[in-house]
Symmetry: C2
Subunit: 211 residues, 2 copies
């Protein structure tokens, strides 16, 4: 049975990106600090074609979150390329061999032909809403899970709509002060912590969304 999941790094004060997000600084000022824990791990580095890193509790989490994924869904901002109609020279932040290796469905208001990238990543642009995107992602995922990759708005929309089964937060011990909040405009979901992984760098808490 396909689960709909999300995992995301969040500051202790609730931000998943810093202030003043831009093309030059897509996760906002200070936002990169949210992800440093992953950059240190051997598993994340391997996923991104890099050598080195450490086999740690954090590395096991970075591995776990990609294991069962059959398809991704992401918001337009996460795919990037600015607002409005597409500049078709923009093919995502990740180069010609993106680290997804599955179908990826991009939520957008502007139609665009699908992109087949190297390494089995495809980007399909969905203009008819989050439920349509989820239907396509479920079909593409086969026995795998659907991962809502981000950003904040995409996760919020699926959580608010009652379509998310699991939310795995990587709680980073920093205070960003401003930026994009994850848990606003999501209603009052019932969440149950089902797994906790502690490391010196970050506290990973996986929540089941109770129906």
């Amino acid at each position: 049975m396909t689960s709909v999941k999300s995992h995301i790094s969040i500051s202790l004060d609730g931000f998943v990106a810093g202030p003043n997000q831009s093309l030059e600084n897509p996760i906002g000022e200070g936002g990169m600090r949210l992800h440093e824990w992953a950059f240190e791990t051997d598993s994340w580095r391997e996923q991104h074609g890099m050598e080195g890193g450490d086999p740690s509790a954090d590395a096991e989490v970075a591995d776990e979150v990609v294991q069962s994924v059959g398809a991704y869904i992401m918001g337009r901002n996460m795919f990037g390329g600015g607002h409005g109609p597409w500049d078709e020279s923009w093919r995502g932040w990740w180069g010609e061999d993106p680290p997804f290796h599955t179908p990826v469905f991009v939520l957008t208001h502007h139609p665009r032909e699908a992109l087949a990238m190297q390494g089995d990543t495809t980007f399909t642009f969905v203009t008819d809403g989050i439920e349509a995107a989820l239907g396509q992602a479920r079909a593409a995922a086969g026995d795998g899970d659907v991962m809502i990759a981000g950003g904040a708005s995409a996760v919020q929309q699926y959580l608010r709509a009652g379509l998310l089964d699991e939310l795995y937060l990587h709680i980073v011990p920093i205070v960003l002060g401003s930026g994009a909040r994850l848990l606003e405009n999501v209603g009052d979901p019932s969440l149950e912590p089902i797994k906790v992984v502690a490391s010196p760098a970050v506290t990973h808490v996986k929540y089941r969304v109770v129906r």
Copy 2:
């Protein structure tokens, strides 16, 4: 060596009290949901003169957070009794035998004579600021620690001033949506998770504040 500590229950979206705090509802609408995990424990119930409850991982935390305390500091709102000059008939929310059993220093702009309660709790009203209150609390605590009891503003002030050594968050898997935030106007403290206790109800993470 006396440490300066705080422990506080916080919603997943960062609130330590719900909206519309009032004399009738001092922790705001929905705010009581932050504390239900403690009410279930045998240790919290014993501290408050009640029977029953469960000996759980949460109970060990509820016991741990009172063990080494030599003195408390709290904000005026937490002591209660409204704003402005004191109505001296107000002797706190807790009756004549409050659950502190140590000296308690109340931050206020309005002078008042100290109150000696039953069970070795004393309330001393400090009008000359957080550092003065901490000096008095350190002196009173002896070999014990000073616990900043709350509310949000008192914890914020000590954290921002670099006077807090440990912050123990009880992260409750609820979304309050609005209310009093803990981690705003606190600057950019360096925090290091040093202990994590996981339970089905709440995730307890103790942070050391790094100087």
